[in-house]
């Protein structure tokens, strides 16, 4: 699985290095492995100093909505 965590892109420089922020801690990561262009505001997964993927924000939001529905419906059943 390998430890890789979501971070927000806050800056990109000419050498294809992005500055990412993880809850107030920032680091420079290489974008050399990113298949698609990255823009400021994207959420990326970073692993040992590289960004390796973008998080699909819509998908994440849908998952969170689904979870909300799951516990809402269970609360309703017990209610």
């Amino acid at each position: 699985m390998c430890l890789s965590i979501p971070s927000k892109v806050i800056q990109i420089d000419a050498a294809n290095i992005a500055t990412v922020d993880t809850m107030g801690v920032q680091r420079q990561v290489s974008l050399d492995l990113m298949p698609d262009p990255v823009v400021i505001g994207d959420y990326v997964l970073i692993h040992v100093g590289f960004a390796m993927n973008k998080i699909d924000q819509e998908d994440a939001l849908e998952s969170l909505k689904l979870y909300q529905q799951i516990h809402d419906s269970l609360e309703a059943e017990e209610g």
Binding site: P6, D32, H47, I55, L64
Partner: protein, 388 residues
């Protein structure tokens, strides 16, 4: 909820109510299971999530975990760890590696102990640092001992690319990158293996794509769910596995859809293919030799290959674990840590005899540390449903 905040990507997937709700749904669904589910979570990161968040305590008895090969450090056979130490002992050498490799003992000593004796051994956060260190130390030979599953391999490849572009003549690579599907195949193919479902690794899958598990699902007729690494992800994946089992499906599903696709990161895959190729054999600690399960530098890059350049210092004599070590059986779910004669009697986290004890993600290591806590009854999820 219209825009995603970074916090959501953490807290949203650790939400207690969601975890409890999913646990309840799993209990409800598992009632109808005819036979137990023995789920292997392949990667150490998932073992870590299960242990840290106590997810195994929330599941019905019909669902059991068999902890997988753990991590790239756990599976490193002793003779390869000895390679790292031998390289570090060479004069004028700086040996670089990632994290836990520093601590793991080989047949006689560890990199940490060797460092205390004066060798220049450094733990890097990123392999990119190897480039800087090589440039800053032109009079030294700098060797990067590369470890990792598919997640970490493209990063090594990217660094190799930069090393070539910078024409660095003093940076060498000792490649120990391994592949997950052949190892899983080796475990599942043993007829005694008890595993009947898989939680697929999160980030290996980001790189390689979920496609790599397809043949396993078909050949072994088992549900495989590629899961994120947060507790909600794992719980949802278990629910998906239960549902597959109930419907007698044997498919590869992606729970971690916010990050994993069928095809994976093609650019990263191409980066790997440019410099690395499969190695015909590689020994995995606890599992033995598995063909085509690891990578090596292509011949064209022999001049960077520490295994070629420093061949004279390196022995390939296999060094087996203690004969009483039953890690292989534990990995296949045929035995539990407590069944091992040396578990806690000669083998413990500070003196690991086998791969399952080596790092905090190994089954024996986790059992050793958590078994002392007699489990109190958790919030009675089952009881609630019965009285509804």
């Amino acid at each position: 909820m219209s825009t995603l905040q970074l916090q959501d990507l953490y807290q949203g997937f650790r939400e207690p109510k969601t975890i409890q709700a999913l646990a309840q749904k799993i209990h409800q669904a598992a009632h109808a299971l005819n036979s137990p589910l023995r789920i292997m979570e392949v990667c150490g990161g998932h073992t870590h999530t299960i242990m840290k968040y106590g997810l195994n305590q929330l599941l019905p008895e019909k669902i059991d975990f068999i902890h997988g090969p753990g991590c790239p450090v756990c599976i490193m056979p002793k003779e390869r760890i000895d390679h790292a130490i031998a390289l570090a002992q060479m004069p004028n050498t700086i040996l670089l590696t990632l994290g836990d490799m520093i601590r793991v003992p080989g047949s006689k000593t560890s990199l940490a102990k060797q460092r205390a004796l004066g060798s220049d051994i450094r733990a890097l956060y990123s392999p990119l640092d190897a480039l800087k260190i090589a440039q800053e130390n032109p009079d030294k030979q700098v060797i990067f001992f590369a470890i990792g599953f598919e997640t970490t391999t493209p990063m090594t490849a990217a660094v190799i690319q930069q090393a070539l572009a910078l024409k660095l003549s003093n940076l060498f690579f000792h490649i120990n990158h391994v592949l997950v599907p052949p190892a899983v195949e080796a475990i599942l193919s043993d007829s005694a293996c008890q595993v009947n479902a898989l939680i697929g690794p999160s980030h290996v899958s980001v790189i390689s794509g979920a496609q790599i598990y397809q043949s396993l699902a078909v050949r072994y007729q088992m549900p495989i769910v590629v899961s994120g690494f947060e507790p909600v992800d794992v719980m949802q994946s278990i629910l998906m596995i239960v549902e597959q089992a109930l419907q007698e499906r044997h498919e590869v599903e992606i729970q971690y859809s916010r990050a994993v696709t069928e095809q994976g990161n093609q650019k990263a895959q191409e980066m790997i293919d440019a410099y690395l190729e499969p190695r015909s054999h590689f020994r995995w600690r606890g599992l033995g030799d598995i063909p085509l399960s690891a990578l090596q530098l292509k011949d064209a890059y022999k001049s960077l290959n520490a295994e070629s350049v420093f061949k004279a210092f390196l022995s390939d004599e296999p060094i087996d674990d203690h004969k009483l070590c039953i890690c292989g059986d534990i990995l296949k779910g045929v035995a539990k840590p407590q069944d091992c004669k040396v578990f806690g009697r000669g083998c413990d986290p500070s003196r690991p005899l086998g791969s399952c004890m080596v790092s905090s993600e190994g089954a024996c290591n986790a059992y050793y540390r958590y078994a002392e806590v007699a489990l109190r009854s958790v919030k009675p999820i089952e009881k609630k449903r019965a009285t509804a």
